[in-house]
């Protein structure tokens, strides 16, 4: 190609001819030449008419090259460019998505204002195209149109809004890019798409990831609270919040609640957590820009404790190209000032190699200096010593500066450094000496008295050293500390006076300075010299120097005219000057978003979006709620749990109805919000009603029962006078209880396994006097109904999530009080199946309890495993939590030898494996129970689930409420124990009960669903008490819920396990808020 290039540029006629010919090969040849001209920056615009004719050429390469030409020159030849438009418009209608996309791409790249309406239309159409690729192209076209005509902004924002809702990864990156270019301030458009973007992120192409992560960083800064706000800050905020809310609304209760809510320890918004969690894997990306984007996200958003993870990845980038190193080191330098600890383990990665480019060396030096502390300073200084001998003098100078900084920052090594630097004064390289002088000057200012020797030594250097900055520094030093070197100072001035005219400006200024200071301290010797210097300076070329001379003369030489200042001259000149603080140039750079161009330049670049400060109060998190696809369900649920303070200071409406229904709804595509949510709630509503009817019928009788029990129980308990009657924690299959027939039976038999359970639960049904013998028809009905309902609304789950498995039905625990007929049937069904191991019977019961997924069908290659906490004591080991595991084989082959393998419990944790399942036929389901001693922590238990062919890593994480077993005690006992657990062990929280949760039984039911606790009778009608013991250590957990007027309530938890207490509070509040 290069051969004929020189021929081309002066004659284009031959090209025109070739373009006009019929042969594609000639056209192609011509186009190639033309493109080569464009590439070399030669003007080929006069060929426009000839080229544009070929826009409809059949040859695909000719066509492409014509596009290249067109995009390049259309702007200059707008009228002619219009000729090509119709071709593209035709292309927009092509059945092939790729042709549609390419037509849109070229059309939008032609920067001709006349076609703006056409482009707008094309973009709008393409935005709703079937093909995600075309939609992506539409997203790309948006900023093009915007740059051509910014008046279209409003319309474009509409398109962006539409595309943001797109669920494909292909579009996500491009549309966020468009968002950033067109309307970065419209953060409200992101709310609804936030979770989706977080979840899609990992699958988006790498460039899109960068853009999305940067945008989400900004978003998170506006929507979440700072994870690092400390106590003191919090208190301040509390004040503010208090007054703020009082002004608005004088209700004391509310304000109080607001304060209380504010006082709560910081709880991270689950959406905030979602972002952090979903970006973390991207630290492993091969793309440096992605890694950097995640790093800055963590730096700006993560709690201090978690930021550390990014260090490793950033250090990895240091292996990359030097340009990448340059940018990464800049950012590391900024980070290392704020979070030094983060990079300390990687100190050695910043050691400098002689082959590094100078700019990299200097940045590494910066980082090393930032990382220096008392412990590692000796290693670092040893490194620095080798650097000083480098051939690269700029680098040596920087090293000396760095030593100076280390010396000022770390007092311990100041003298060592100073000595080292003084030695450098005899270095042969003048630059080194000069730099040392400058640094020594700064160091000496800190403790001048002890170092007159050094000052003398430096005074001698004035003879040799020529670097102006160094000379000026020496002169300043001598002037400043002339009292320490009274003999030398006048002599230096004498020498300098001699050479004054030949000095650089900064040196001259310092000579004047020195003269003035000497005049003030030692006028006898230096009066004449000073006069002489000032006279010289008076006629200097530089006006600064002339000014200075004039000013100083007036100030120091007493004349009749001189004013009051004269007296203070000495004070003015020889005032104690604070030692300079040697600071990193990277300090405070972090107000720019890390990884941005602005941060790199330390100046605001065009189009830079400020990183906003954290808000004092989190904006309403419910704005991010969307009609929920499966995967967000849990997060939104969590969110409510953790964000319970919300209703207190925003009004509770925001949190109630709509959110609820939106959350609980199954995926409903692009359906409109309102209609879909109403349909969702109505469907779940009917179910609820049914449920309630049934319950109501059973309830009345049960309530009575309960009351009786309540009265009976405590008496017996009192007799025993101990809280050994721990039910469920078979830890005390105790002796005293032998007289308690029913309780005893339940307790003893439950641990014995399935048979026992049958008995207990059949007992349960009889004792409850509810229809244990309800017909199988209703049972089947229940089965059919339950699974969808549990899916449809999490609330339903908890509704059903009674203590179905509570082994002692006689106990006045709430579960029995509200158990419904249908539930009893379920219960029975379960127990039956449990003994007979008929999996089909099992399923309804299981879906009624909160089941958790252990292994998804997809991940398990057809093997699906779910688990639930059966709330039964685990036979054999009272310290273990029984976990019921349901394994279904969805493959078409038999699964053999299913077993737990290699449990890798954390320290102290123990796992009792379930007996190996020899074989599981296709389509079959098996249920087994395994025991896990979680050591009273919510840490997940990890183990392998093995089949004869595969093994899966799985983990079980218990909700805190499952780590305990109910205890039954009297009111008095309760109060006594509560008295022992005051102070630190007590956690109190205020909450508002939602309307649905006003009745006694719902409260009790919600609470017992959240935690495996037993109810303690209580005299007061507005109080509810519950007690439990943690399974492993047997620590008491006492729960009191006191209802206040209105819908407020106070929840108190007493437990010596404070962590469990805090977590339990959260869980309960969440359960009650539902």
């Amino acid at each position: 190609m290069g051969i004929f290039l020189p021929l081309v540029w002066f004659r284009h006629d031959d090209l025109k001819e070739m373009l006009d010919s019929n042969k594609d090969s000639l056209k192609l040849e011509a186009m190639k030449r033309i493109v080569a001209m464009i590439a070399r920056g030669k003007n080929a615009s006069d060929l426009f008419p000839a080229v544009v004719k070929n826009v409809a050429c059949k040859n695909i390469e000719v066509k492409k090259l014509v596009y290249v030409y067109l995009v390049r020159y259309a702007e200059e030849q707008q009228d002619l460019a219009l000729l090509s438009i119709s071709t593209f418009q035709r292309g927009l209608k092509d059945p092939n998505q790729l042709i549609r996309a390419s037509a849109l791409r070229v059309l939008s790249s032609i920067r001709v204002p006349i076609i703006v309406p056409i482009m707008m239309l094309a973009i709008k159409e393409a935005a709703s195209d079937m093909s995600p690729y075309v939609r992506k192209t539409a997203a790309h076209a948006i900023p093009k149109l915007y740059s051509l005509d910014s008046d279209q902004k409003d319309q474009l924002i509409e398109v962006i809004e539409k595309l943001l809702a797109d669920k494909t990864t292909l579009v996500a990156g491009s549309v966020v890019m468009a968002f950033e270019e067109v309307c970065p301030e419209r953060i409200d458009l992101i709310h609804k798409n936030y979770r989706k973007l977080c979840n899609l992120l990992i699958d988006v192409e790498e460039w899109g990831q960068v853009v999305i992560i940067n945008m989400l960083t900004r978003y998170a800064r506006t929507q979440f609270l700072s994870p690092n706000q400390n106590e003191s800050l919090l208190e301040e905020n509390t004040e503010k919040a208090f007054y703020g809310s009082e002004e608005e609304d004088a209700k004391d209760a509310k304000a109080e609640a607001a304060v209380l809510a504010k006082c709560k320890p910081y709880v991270m918004d689950p959406d905030h957590r979602l972002l952090l969690r979903n970006t973390k894997p991207l630290l492993q990306s091969r793309n440096a820009a992605v890694v950097m984007a995640v790093a800055q996200l963590y730096f700006h958003l993560a709690p201090k404790a978690e930021v550390g993870v990014i260090a490793k990845a950033l250090v990895r980038l240091l292996r990359s190209h030097s340009e990448v190193q340059y940018v990464v080191l800049q950012n590391v330098a900024t980070m290392s000032i704020k979070r030094r600890g983060m990079f300390e383990p990687y100190l050695k990665s910043f050691y400098i190699r002689s082959t590094d480019p100078t700019q990299i060396k200097i940045l590494k030096l910066e980082v090393l200096t930032n990382l220096a502390n008392e412990t590692n300073i000796s290693t670092i200084l040893r490194e620095f010593q080798t650097y000083i001998r480098s051939m690269d003098k700029d680098f040596v100078a920087a090293t000396i500066q760095a030593i100076g900084r280390c010396a000022t920052n770390i007092g311990k090594v100041r003298d060592t450094c100073l000595n080292g630097l003084v030695q450098l004064l005899s270095n042969r390289d003048e630059l080194v000496v000069a730099e040392s002088v400058v640094v020594i000057k700064k160091l000496l200012q800190m403790q001048p008295a002890q170092h007159s020797e050094i000052i003398k030594h430096m005074a001698k250097l004035t003879d040799n050293i020529q670097v102006p900055m160094a000379r000026a520094s020496i002169l300043w030093l001598i002037g400043e500390y002339c009292e320490h070197v009274p003999k030398i100072a006048p002599d230096v001035l004498r020498k300098m006076a001699k050479s004054f005219t030949n000095e650089e400006d900064i040196v001259k200024l310092q000579v004047i300075n020195l003269a003035a200071k000497l005049y003030l301290t030692n006028s006898k010797q230096s009066k004449l010299l000073t006069q002489y210097v000032l006279n010289l300076a008076k006629y200097d070329q530089n006006y600064d120097i002339r000014d200075r001379a004039r000013f100083i003369r007036q100030l120091i030489v007493p004349t009749e005219k001189s004013g009051a200042l004269n007296k203070y001259a000495k004070k003015l000149f020889l005032a104690q000057k604070p030692a300079p603080i040697l600071e990193s140039s990277f300090k405070d750079r972090d107000h720019f978003q890390l990884g941005s161009l602005s941060h790199l330049l330390n100046a605001k670049a065009v189009g830079y979006q400020e990183l906003p400060d954290w808000p004092d109060e989190a904006p309403d998190p419910s704005v991010r709620n969307v009609e929920v696809p499966e995967w967000t369900k849990c997060t939104s649920r969590e969110k409510r749990k953790e964000k319970v303070e919300k209703p207190f200071y925003s009004d509770s409406e925001g949190e109630s109805g709509p959110t609820e229904s939106a959350d609980s709804e199954p995926e409903s595509g692009s359906e409109e919000n309102g209609s879909s949510s109403s349909s969702g709630s109505s469907s779940s509503g009917t179910e609820e009603e049914e449920e309630e009817e049934e319950e109501d019928s059973g309830e009345q009788s049960e309530d009575k029962e309960e009351e009786e029990e309540v009265e009976k129980r405590p008496k017996r308990k009192d007799k025993e006078g101990s809280h050994k009657a721990v039910l469920g924690s078979a830890g005390s299959p105790s002796e005293e209880e032998e007289e308690e027939e029913r309780a005893k039976k339940a307790k003893k038999k439950a641990p014995q396994g399935r048979k026992g359970r049958v008995e207990t639960s059949s007992e349960a049904s009889t004792s409850e006097s509810s229809s244990s013998g309800s017909d199988s028809g209703s049972e089947a009905e229940a089965k059919q109904r339950k699974p969808p309902s549990s899916k449809a609304s999490p609330k339903e789950i908890s509704l059903l999530d009674l203590d179905d498995f509570t082994p002692s039905p006689v106990q006045p625990i709430p579960s029995s009080s509200i158990i419904s007929t249908s539930l009893v049937t379920d219960l029975e069904g379960l127990t039956l199946t449990d003994s007979s191991l008929t999996p089909t019977l099992l399923s309804p019961a299981f879906s009624a309890v909160k089941t958790y997924e252990l292994l998804h069908r997809m991940a398990g290659e057809g093997l699906a495993v779910e688990y639930c906490f059966s709330r039964r004591p685990f036979p054999g080991d009272p310290h273990m939590v029984a976990v019921q595991i349901q394994i279904s084989n969805n493959t078409d082959t038999e699964v053999k030898n299913l077993r737990v393998n290699e449990p890798k419990p954390l320290s102290g944790m123990r796992i009792q494996e379930f007996p190996e399942i020899e074989h599981l036929a296709p389509g079959d389901t098996a249920t087994v129970v395994m025991g896990i001693d979680f050591c009273d922590s919510t840490q997940a238990a990890n183990f392998q689930l093995c089949t004869h062919t595969r093994q899966f890593y799985v983990s079980i994480q218990p909700p805190v409420g499952e780590l305990m077993a109910p205890v039954f005690m009297s009111e008095n006992e309760f109060k006594k124990e509560q008295g022992k657990l005051m102070g630190m062990s007590e956690i109190t929280e205020k909450l508002t009960l939602p309307e649905k949760c006003q009745s006694d039984h719902t409260i009790v039911q919600q609470l017992t669903s959240a935690a495996n606790v037993g109810r303690v009778p209580c005299g007061a009608s507005n109080e509810y008490r519950f007690a439990a013991k943690t399974v492993t250590s047997g620590s008491l957990v006492l729960i009191t819920l006191e209802r206040r007027e209105g819908s407020t309530a106070q929840l108190t938890i007493n437990s010596e396990k404070m962590v469990i207490g805090t977590m339990l509070v959260k869980d309960i509040i969440q359960a009650l808020a539902q």
């Binding site: 590439a39 192209t137 790309h140 492993q284 002689s354 161009l597 330049l601």
Partner: protein, 418 residues
């Protein structure tokens, strides 16, 4: 995003320009030339140069500056990473990336650049997709094209962009199905004067050459995956599987690609396979200095060290060196003061050495710095960290592929301070 791209050669000529938005005058490069002049060496040109209206971001590779012009805030690494990707693509297309090659293939280059960015935002950067769009030139194809007048531009449409595995071409067919993996480890080390290790770490990569028909799904497992401390993956690797099982599971791109790069955890002591004995001294009185280097094997696990190359930057005051190597060849460039000694294989029985004298500029005092010695070497069939691939399995396709794994250890940035 990226407005324009200028390619500038070492002589300071702009030999290619490409604009993705409106045209930016090439005079903007004057700012770049200024910065280039200020920096003594090419690699010291700052990668980011602000100008009154634009920002210039550049990378320097293969003696070419790739200068991107941007107009507004964009993460600098975004641009830099992209420019490197451009260079990689050129290399992938033409084998080498040099001024001559780019000039010769200017049309292909232009077409590729056109596809890589749309309005300055990266569009298709996967080499597999690009090759589907624009076929890389081969000698055969060039000949055929000139005779038949057919083109380099693929007449298929870039379906790869639509696929869920955008990195893999569709409809791949091979008669010999093979998958090769090279485990290459590099030792980065700084050894101090006395021979003790200041810092040493192992960085490794697994480069793959996969030529398999259809849509194979591969899993690669290691005997000792715990060795890997920090990893970064090709986008094809399923991160979840790695997290949970420490298995690399992926649908590979077609052809050559880097599957994984890793860092071996710092707790493991790094075996340093070579040692360097050196005696370099300059005397103050005479203008002569002594120079002696011996290279020997240390912990090589019984493997031979090959491709040994010693380079050292001598101080400026060194005029010339008179050296005799016991093996290999040496060159001293009196202009750049760079000494390089191509040693070759190390024979443990007869250690290679380089001895002789250094003549210094008369009248100058002895240089106070000692040159650092940079070392390069290769050890075949050894991954110095001990990493071992356990097995490679293929799912999704019926045929039996031919599999191969090669290990190699190399010196990365291996420096000996003297």
């Amino acid at each position: 995003m990226i407005h324009s791209l200028f390619l500038i050669n070492a002589a300071g000529d702009i030999f290619l320009e490409k604009h993705w938005k409106s045209v930016v005058s090439r005079s903007v490069c004057d700012y770049f030339f200024e910065a280039q002049e200020r920096a003594s060496e090419a690699e010291n040109v700052p990668p980011v140069i602000p100008t009154p209206h634009h920002y210039l971001l550049s990378v320097y590779r293969h003696k070419i500056f790739f200068v991107a012009v941007i107009q507004s805030e964009v993460p600098p690494l975004f641009v830099i990473e992209f420019l490197h990707r451009v260079v990689d693509t050129f290399q992938d297309y033409f084998g080498v990336c040099s001024e001559v090659i780019i000039k010769d293939n200017v049309v292909v280059v232009y077409e590729v650049l056109e596809e890589m960015l749309d309005n300055g935002f990266p569009l298709a950067t996967e080499s597999n997709i690009l090759k589907e769009l624009i076929k890389p030139p081969t000698i055969l194809r060039t000949v055929v094209n000139t005779i038949t007048g057919s083109t380099n531009v693929g007449d298929q449409l870039p379906t790869g962009q639509l696929s869920v595995v955008p990195w893999r071409r569709t409809g791949v067919k091979y008669t010999n199905n093979e998958a090769y993996f090279d485990v290459i480890e590099e030792i980065d080390a700084i050894i101090d004067k006395s021979g003790s290790t200041i810092t040493a770490e192992i960085q490794g990569v697994i480069d793959a050459c996969v030529k398999l028909t259809g849509m194979p799904d591969l899993t690669l497992s290691f005997m000792n995956p715990r060795l890997l401390d920090d990893v970064s993956f090709h986008p094809c690797v399923r991160f979840k599987r790695w997290e949970s099982e420490r298995i690399l599971s992926f649908i590979p791109p077609d052809g050559n690609f880097r599957l994984l790069s890793y860092h071996v955890s710092a707790q493991n002591l790094v075996a340093i396979p070579v040692y360097v004995k050196h005696n370099i001294s300059f005397r103050d009185s005479s203008s002569l200095g002594r120079f002696e280097i011996t290279v020997g094997p240390k912990q090589t696990m019984g493997k031979t060290i090959e491709g040994v190359m010693v380079t050292s930057q001598m101080p400026k005051s060194v005029l010339n060196m008179t050296l005799t190597p016991s093996q290999g060849t040496h060159v001293f460039d009196p202009v750049t003061k760079l000494l390089s000694w191509d040693v070759g294989k190390i024979n443990p029985q007869k250690l290679p050495s380089l001895k002789g004298s250094v003549s210094l500029q008369a009248g100058t005092s002895k240089p106070d710095e000692n040159p650092t010695i940079n070392l390069q070497f290769k050890i075949q069939q050894l991954a110095i960290s001990g990493l071992k691939v356990n097995r490679l399995d293929m799912y999704g396709e019926k045929y039996k592929p031919f599999k191969g794994i090669k290990y190699m250890t190399k010196a990365g940035k291996f420096q000996v301070r003297t």
